[in-house]
Symmetry: C2
Subunit: 311 residues, 2 copies
């Protein structure tokens, strides 16, 4: 158990799960929550998991950043659609020599964090996690959970990343240090771009997509465009990775991507993080990712209609 203190911004499916595990392991963890503050303060945090259910009765939870103690490591566990809030949320809760670890989907999603603490104090990671918030202060962890993270500035694995990784490992969180997080993000996009996007565009589960020849071809050709986009930036992803991702998906239980879940619930989707930013990055690197762009525009169309329908 280290003496590093952790702050969790967003106590949902991801922040509630990882923060809960860190707190259970004995770390000092402070949670910033929104709608669930009172419930968690009164009833604690409940995590159901196939690795073992647990309940934290005494949780340090706050409704505003001003009330919360400044922490050594602040984990951003919001959806990227909430990142505009970070300019206000982060300054009070990061120690002067602390750092921010952004655990979000997509590409180029660290700007709001680097704007507050600087690129050299920003860490970035991808989570391979199936988890849902099923009620106030109530998380249901379904499967997986590994975090791959590293310095935003890359350049190998820093001591800081190693230390935080130790805390995670002590909390039974599987970690892989990433010497180049941008490569990690491109690799994750190889799955996220086709399956988040097509699940909404086609209104289909992973199994629906993989059971149809044309669904599988769409997924495959999109994956190839992600690989080509990464290559245009100088990031090499082996072609066999595409086949492996398809094969893994074929074997998965029918699964609704996070974007499909958001869509079904009428929530804003992470369209810019997962689609807009990669399409723009590819274009800037000279690659015309036309299939990705089609899907990007499709999702923006659907997202705008969702937002209108909610009004």
């Amino acid at each position: 158990m280290s003496d590093r203190t952790y702050g969790i911004v967003g106590t949902g499916a991801l922040g509630g799960y990882y923060g809960g595990l860190l707190a259970r392991s004995g770390c000092e963890v402070h949670f910033l929550a929104h709608s669930d503050v009172d419930h968690i303060r009164d009833n604690g945090l409940k995590v159901e998991s196939k690795a073992g259910d647990f309940h934290l009765s005494d949780v340090s939870v706050f409704g505003t950043p001003e009330e919360m103690p400044a922490c050594d490591v602040v984990i951003v566990a919001l959806k990227t659609t909430q990142n505009h809030l970070l300019a206000e949320l982060l300054p009070p809760i990061v120690k002067a020599d602390g750092c921010v670890l952004v655990l979000q989907n997509g590409l180029d999603i660290e700007q709001e964090a680097t704007a507050v603490v600087g690129a050299d104090r920003t860490l970035s990671g991808c989570c391979f996690l199936c988890s849902n918030k099923v009620g106030p202060g109530h998380i249901r962890h379904l499967d997986y959970g590994r975090i791959e993270f590293g310095e935003f500035l890359g350049n190998g694995v820093s001591e800081r990343v190693g230390d935080i990784g130790q805390d995670f490992a002590s909390a039974t969180i599987s970690v892989t240090p990433s010497p180049d997080i941008r490569l990690t993000r491109w690799r994750k996009l190889v799955w996220n771009i086709p399956f988040n996007g097509l699940s909404v565009a086609l209104d289909a589960s992973t199994a629906d997509i993989m059971e149809c020849f044309d669904g599988t071809e769409m997924a495959k050709t999109l994956m190839e465009e992600v690989v080509a986009s990464a290559a245009a930036e100088g990031y090499s992803i082996d072609e066999s990775f595409v086949e492996k991702m398809l094969e893994d998906t074929r074997k998965m239980v029918p699964y609704d991507s996070s974007m499909r879940v958001d869509h079904k619930l009428g929530r804003p989707m992470e369209v810019e993080a997962i689609f807009g930013n990669p399409v723009r990055a590819a274009a800037a690197a000279g690659h015309d990712a036309r299939r990705m762009e089609m899907l990007y525009r499709h999702l923006k169309f659907v997202d705008a209609r969702n937002v209108r329908n909610l009004k």
Copy 2:
């Protein structure tokens, strides 16, 4: 009034309308119908049109091709999804020196006709028509109606095309002879590919698409791919045509494309005629039409699900 006899295969929104006009003008017209045969025989054919309603009480209509007299000009007015029927329907109803005029959407949709009567006896045309069948033997013509047609083999405007065009004109059908029907078809696809496809993929009317920046961009970039696909085959379409099509669509009343109508009614969509054949033609000519292909696969996915749901 000529002594050419006309056969109409498919007495729906298109065949009922044009065949009705030809019959009204005094031409000898025989209709091949499916579900509506008895109704039309008993009650005639009713056409509502802003150009003037009319009712034909004595209609020569048949339920099987064997009963029907052979005609000089047989007009194919089925959906292309029914073209597999032509091998049986056409032989009894085309005179030995007669010809077949295929009035259907899409590209490379003449094969079933040429297989029966030969390429040199096949004519081909595109209709710019808004018309619906609203009940048995009951057609509602909404707007437009021009036919652009020519020899399947191209090579300018034949005498035959001129003669049939005269009959159409006498029947108040606006006609434009096409010296190269494949160019005409590519030009029509500039509109049909984006607006038939996106209306189903996005579940949107033409107005919904044009009111959204991303919808309009999808339509525009798809149009550019159609123009590039045609160019790969040696067919030149001016770039200004794309802007004109967008502008015309912007001014249209909100309209459901024929594919969206089919989709809403759970009917098979003309996916191969309007998407599959153009994508394959572009690929054969060396152009990789990736956006068109994405939309093609999307529609095949949706079409297969529709068919499954009907079972």
